[in-house]
Every structure is written in C-alpha cells, then in structure tokens.
Point group: C2
Chain length 513, copies 2
C-alpha cells in the first residue's frame, strides 16, 4: 500500500469564515505505510523457522506449570514430568497457526478506542513495567501509585498512544492489593484498552470481574471479545514459568489476548548472533502461541519478540542499536510466516532523557516501522533499558509518534495540489505567502509540533532559551492540571470501588508464582 | 537488494590470540539497503513530471546570465532577452536526461576516499554553509577560519562522512581571499572530496587550479573526472541567478559535478502543498541539469531537492517534519524517473543540540533513507535551519549515521549463526555468556557506540551523570587534539601555499554576482 492510498483519512475542512479550520488527522487508527525491510533472504528465514521447529521438537522447553504440560501432552507432545521438559512436534505448531485468529479487535471503553490487531495495523504503547519513575520536578524515585495514576492520565491524553500499558510498578501499593489500584485507576482515568498482569489466577480473575462489570458486559459478551490484554514473557532460554503459563491459559480461556514476547538479549539469554537469537525467540513464541490454542482453538494471541543485544564489555542491555533494529526486521520476516498480529519494541539504555535517549528510541522505532510491527511497545518515555519511565521523554517521544501518524495519514496529489495555477500566479523570484492557493490551505497544511520550537534563535533566546526537555516538563504538568478524563459511568465506578473495598477487606489476592 | 546481500562487506577477524580482534566495518562505501517508500502512485508522479514540463515550456524560468540564455536559445528554447525568460521544450529536457551520466565517480585524495554517485549509493555530508558555529566551550559565534579548519578536521576523522562540504562560512576571511583559505585548509587537513563554491569564474577557476596542481593532475586528467563538487541552488520560484548559472557552466566545462538543488519551502518560495512544491522543484532541477548538458553533453550532474515547509504561524523554516519527509519521498519517486544520482537533506530548526534537534534530524534522515537518496546533506551538526553548525551535534549525529552504516553492512544468517549447537548447549534458564559460540564472536559481534553510554544508572551516576552532549564536547576536543590528519605531499602543499601567497598579493579574486 502506498501512503497516498490512506489519504482518505486526512480531512481538511474548508470554507466558512469562523472558526479557524483545525487540522483533523486521525491518530487513533493507523495503518503502516512503509514498505517492509528485509535482512535475510526468504530461504534463510525458512532455515530459521525450521531451526526453531527443531529446537521445539528435539531440544524442547522446560514448562514449569503441570497443567500446561498436561495440555501439551494431550496434544501429542513428548513430556517428561521429572525434568519438566516438553518436546513439541511441528504438527502442534502448524495446527496452532491455523486456528489462531489473524485479526483481533480489542475493545476499549468507547468504540473510537477499539484497537485492531492485525498485520498492517500500527499501534503504539508508551513504556511499560518500569520500577522507577522520573521527571525534572521530582527526580527519580521508585514507582508509586501516584506516578501510575499520572502516567495513565498522560497516556490517556494522547490519541497516538493506543493501549494502556503497566507504565510503572506502584511499589507503595502492597502486591496483594495492587491489581485493585491499577484497575480502578485505569477504569476511572482512561477508556483505552487496559493491561492486566498475569500474576496468578486469583488476581487475573478478579481483574476480569472488575473490567467486565465496569464495562457492563455479560459473561458471554466478555469472553466473545478481548477487552484487555497481557504480556507473556518467556524465561529465555527455553523456559515458561508458572505465572506465564498460567496467564496464557487463563487469558485464552477468557478470550482475552496474550501478547507473547520472548525477551532475549543477544549474548546473554540468547545466542550472540541475530540469527541465533531470533531462532530462539521464534521457537519460544511459537510454543506459547501453541499453548493458547490447546486451551481454546481460536483464542486471540499476538506473536512477538523483544530482542536486542548486550554491551559485551559490561553485560549491560543495549537498545535502539543496529543489532536491535536488525532483529526487529528479522522478527517481521518471521512474523510474516505466521500471519498473526505481532509486537515489537523500541527502547533506550540512556540514563536520562537526552540526545542519546532520543536517538536510540527513534532508531529502534524505525526498526519496528520497517519490520511491519503491529504493536510497538515502549514507544514513549522508556529509559534505562526499562528501569525508568520519564515524564518528559513520554512527551518528546509522542512528538515523533505523531509525526509518524502524520505520514500514515498520507498526502494528496490531485491536480489542485500540483497547483499549476499558483505556479503561474507567482512570478520568478516572488513568494507564495499571499497566493490564493496558499491562503486556502495554510491553516491546516502542516503538522503543528507538540513540543518542537520552530522560532528563530533571537526569538527563542528572548523567550529564555528553553530546551526541549524543560518545555516537555511544562507540558505534562499542564496536561495533568487541565486535561479532562474520559466520560465515566459514576454508578459503574461506585460498584468498582465497592468491589475493591470488599475484596481488600477480605485480604486481597496475592500474586502466584 | 536485501541487507544480507551486502554482508560480504562485513569482515570479522577470527582466531589469533593477540591482539584482540577489532570490528572492521566498511563505513566508506555504503549501499542503501532500505526499500524505497512511495507517497504518490506512479500515475500521480507522472502527472507531476508532466506538470513540471509544462512549467518549463509554458511559464518558463528567468535566467539572469546572458550566456546561459544563449545556450538555451541555441538548443531551441524560446528566449526573451528583455524579460530574461526562457521557455524550455521537453525535447531539451529529454535529451539532457539521455546524456547526463547515471553513475559518477568523484575522486578523493586517496582511492578509498573516492565517492561513487549513482542511485543505490549512500553518501553522507555534515551540515554545510552555516554562517555561525557553536559549541559548549566557546558558545555561538559568527563562523571563523578557525571554525572552518576545526570542522574540516572533525569531518575528516569520521569515515561515515564521505564528502567535505563548506561547513561554516569563515567570515573573518575577506571574500576575495576566502577560497584560498578554504582550499588550502581542505587540501592540508583532508583527503575527502572537496566542495568549491560557485561564486564566479575567477574564484572557480583558481580553485580548480589549486586542486589540480595539488593532486598532480594534467589538464586532461582533471577534466576527465570529477575531483570536486559544487551545490547549485536555484532561486525559487523559477529563477536561476548569475553565479548559479555561471557555476553550472564552469563546472560542466571542467568536468566537475554540480549538485543541483532547488531549495523550496512549502508556503514560502513554493506552493503550500507537497505536490505543488515538488512540481516546482522538479522543474527547476530539470532546467539546471539541461543547462549542464547544453554546455557539455555527458557532463556530470546530480539531481536534487531540498524541500521542507514553513511554520505558517511565524513563517519560520521547519525541518525534519512530516511534510519534509513526504517531500523527500516524492523527490525519490521523481528522481527514479531521471535515473540520475540525486541528493536530499535532513535538518533541524532547533536552536540548540537537544532532544528536538536529535529527533528532527533523525526523522529527516529516515525520509532520505526511505527515498533512496544518493547524497544526504546536512546529516550531522546542522542547527537553526542551517544558520549554525554545532560541534557537539556533529558528533552525536555521526552516531546515528554509523548505526545506519552498520545496517548497510548487513548481517549473516549462515547455519553457524543460527547456532543450533549453542542452543543445545545452554540449558533452560541458563545463559549464553560463556558459550563457545559467544566466546568466539563477542568481541566483534556488536556495534560499539561512539558516544552512547550503555552503563547502568548507578555506574553512570558515580561517573558524574554526564549527559550525551557534554560527552560529545569532550570527544570533539579529543579528536582535534589527537587525531592525525591525512598524509599530505609536503611539496604539493608548499606549491599551494606559494600560489595562495602570490595570488593574494595580486589582489585575490572577488566573488561575482
């Protein structure tokens, strides 16, 4: 598809003297307009797929949850309960790739917040799962409930952030009550698709109950479609632990989508080569996907990878590197074989929201865009290889995501755009500022930066020579102070709060592992 | 071409206990591994090409140099000397596109510095032509000879910067002597392809003389190949001024390549639409290319554009925007019709080397990469829409260019890379740090950042919590203090200095306009 074929999505209002026309670009439902890159030839991609099938058949995976081993055994896998090893034949994988849906609509709290997960869609999430939060006003601190709530509000504010991830870990909330706090916050402050942690059946089922009741859905309605999602990280190499296997099973049973993501760092928990690391990642992803289909054929599931390299001098994780980019493209080539929606991620190892952070995050983003990723995680705010979410970086990264969304919207090349009349009207050496063609369009012609300052050096200096990160700090404070939340049903919210109070009183639900 | 097909360029040394193997990636001769994006359908690209031919045939261009008008008239163009308007029939353009060479090798001072200009090549230049220079140590100031010399040394240092542009304008050197200073500096401090300003025949011819003598070339040898280049900016809309027309003629006669670049800002000197602006840019580029072929059929010439938008609130130029990106892709589609090597540019409107600057520059860079540009100008160091070159930004932008060069080098997916043995060796939940497969490769497996800091937050804090721009400041100072220059023939340099002394004594050569 060319970018132009999307152009119907750009609507430019014309005529009418008041009010001034506003740009109206759809940032909510994006299609990826970029041609997919290739790193390996098709035959080498086939070789990696074959090698991954060999890994599953011959080497096997360690699956720590007995119920999951039983499901694999029933399907014909060779299971050794004494070693917890499961060897999965290719027919099980092949069958899973047939039944797993190629297109999944995940419901938000309002129809414009629904997210379509299929190859060709483009869905952004901000940074997820960080133990720390940081901003210029308050500095770096362990994540708190307040940070979680604020970051939910900021994520809600930007249309280009499509799903609500677990932004920071609210460490001041006890683990057995934490899912109440995060669910209540996400429901009250956002109508975007919420994330639910797979931390054992009790928390998962209570989270489903809260969501189902808040959305006013019957049991059948809830299970018939995804209204939430989780992320399943395998424990590379070749292991699926109890909460992750439990999550795959619980979410598949409930019809809620699991985004399967082996997190493999080349040279650490994966081979040092892109081809080796992606062989491992692909094998683990296929095994996890197969488990969902053994639970419930047709269960929604998303293929994925998060593969980068380590710094071989220090062993520290690196992100937004050439090797990360390359792995993303290879993942896209492998995902193409599955036909499933799939997730990728950008990231940064930088320790503050500076030039390195911006460069790595955008470089990794282009890896995702050129690999045809459906869901791009950690696309805004992620620092320190995921240990911190930065409020300022969330803002500045959204700028880049909005610019990408503008490209998704496409550009028109009708005769009126080619503008031969205007070209004739303006004489050699003249200018187009006052041309009729310009006057008719200038108010909506161009993307207006969120935080970018286009003023000249003199004006910028007079205004205090403020750098981008400081401007971003001002903006997130303004958003938190001024932005309205979503429309919320007060009765549903009251019921949710009552549920939380009762369950908390009864001791909550500890995570399982 | 896939990235993998380039992989022969990556050589990883193995075996031998001392010294430690070094990564050896070719940053000097890059091929673009990315699939070209498309913004408009082929039929709308054809419509823009047709519209551009109509602009040339029916509206015409104002050509201020009588000799250029005469050349066009002799070829059959309709010329009105009283209005200086030249109307160029499509047969003149068609003929020019036949005779203009599709592949041009521009000679550096050493064979590894030669630059191949053809579609598919990828050539980077740092920021060019800025009136100011800035760095963290000395602040922002009008460009001086010292700044020019320092930036030449920095550009020389990085293999990924392939050509030597006019980095800053050395305003402390009088205009009639400036070309002596810049030529002597470029010859003494660099063996990369030098830029020569088209500021009238006297300066141009003297610059050619200096270069020819310094390189030890006969008249025939000099004219037979390009050893230098210039940039020709049309005066949009629809005008070619005297020094630019003069430059097109002088460089074509001397066999030196002109990079033709209409600089058009949508909404200012071009229509407010991408399609309109690119119609104008394309028309002007074709006219300038035609002039070179009328002078000397087969003269080396490079198609080009630099098209971005203005901020319609202030009229200030904007760069690295979605519209800039889109125009680059359209330029690539149009350049594809010509078959010629072509130049594009990234840029930034930011006033300091901060997050905005990094984001805009990389966003614009991806526009160039996905448009298949041969030469990417302003790829490092360019700030304030070209009014300043930043030493720190030059360093940090080079980081991104090196990461792109790593992608150009490709990645191997042989069976040894897929690493089934290593996958079998490492048990579930284990790690690959000590695996034989890792040990054999880890020293050269990954790109080592130039300026990126991959250490964790604790280590980074203990080391002073230094931000990227400050680290970049340290690095350029180290390079200026320590990096050796190129090998220079002392006799050739002495002759050059004698030439400059004699010519300066004789009054120099004022620019013409």
């Amino acid at each position: 598809m060319t970018i132009a074929e999307n152009k119907g999505r750009r609507r430019t209002r014309r005529g009418g003297s008041t009010p001034a026309p506003a740009r109206d670009i759809n940032y909510r439902s994006l299609r990826n307009p970029f041609p997919p890159a290739r790193v390996f030839t098709d035959d080498r991609i086939a070789a990696i797929h074959e090698a991954a099938l060999s890994v599953l058949e011959d080497l096997g995976l360690k699956v720590l949850l007995p119920e999951a081993r039983t499901l694999f055994a029933r399907a014909g896998a060779r299971v050794d309960d004494s070693t917890e090893m499961v060897r999965i034949g290719r027919e099980i994988i092949d069958a899973a790739l047939v039944t797993a849906p190629k297109s999944v609509t995940v419901r938000g709290g309002a129809r414009p917040r629904d997210v379509l997960l299929e190859q060709g869609s483009l869905v952004f999430q901000p940074g997820a799962g960080a133990p720390h939060a940081t901003d210029l006003v308050r500095g770096r601190r362990p994540g708190r409930g307040q940070d979680f709530a604020e970051l939910v509000k900021l994520t809600q504010y930007f249309d280009v952030l499509h799903m609500m991830p677990p932004l920071v870990e609210p460490q001041d909330v006890p683990m057995h009550l934490r899912h109440y706090m995060t669910m209540e916050t996400m429901m009250a402050q956002s109508d975007k698709v919420p994330f639910i942690f797979a931390r054992g059946t009790p928390q998962t089922e209570q989270s489903f109950e809260m969501l189902q009741d808040f959305r006013g859905l019957s049991d059948e309605e809830f299970r018939a479609e995804s209204h939430s999602y989780t992320i399943i990280n395998t424990n590379s190499p070749r292991q699926i632990d109890i909460p992750m296997a439990r999550g795959l099973i619980d979410f598949a049973r409930a019809g809620q989508i699991s985004i399967v993501t082996p997190f493999t760092l080349m040279g650490a928990m994966a081979p040092v080569t892109v081809a080796g690391a992606m062989t491992l990642s692909h094998a683990e992803a296929l095994a996890a996907i197969a488990l969902t289909q053994l639970v419930r054929p047709g269960a929604p599931v998303c293929y994925g990878t998060f593969t980068s390299n380590v710094d071989m001098k220090s062993g520290a994780p690196a992100f937004g590197t050439p090797e990360h980019f390359t792995a993303s493209v290879v993942a896209g080539q492998l995902a193409g074989r599955t036909g499933l929606p799939w997730r990728c991620a950008t990231g940064s190892a930088a320790n503050l929201s500076d030039v390195q952070a911006a460069q790595e995050t955008q470089f990794g983003l282009w890896g995702c865009l050129l690999s045809g990723a459906t869901v791009v995680l950690h696309a805004a705010g992620w620092l320190e290889g995921g240990l911190t979410v930065s409020y300022e970086k969330l803002i500045t990264d959204v700028e880049v995501l909005q610019m990408v969304a503008e490209l998704c919207a496409g550009t028109s090349a009708e005769d009126a755009d080619i503008a031969l009349d205007a070209l004739a009207e303006v004489q050699p050496g003249g200018h187009f500022f006052g041309a009729q063609h310009t006057m008719e369009r200038y108010q909506t012609a161009f993307y207006e930066p969120l935080i970018g300052d286009l003023s000249n050096y003199g004006t910028w200096s007079e205004r205090g020579a403020v750098d981008t990160t400081t401007r971003a700090s001002d903006l997130w404070q303004k958003i938190l102070n001024e932005a309205p939340g979503p429309r919320v049903d007060p009765e549903a919210l009251a019921r949710l709060q009552e549920y939380v109070a009762v369950k908390s009183q009864a001791g909550g639900a500890p995570p399982e592992s």
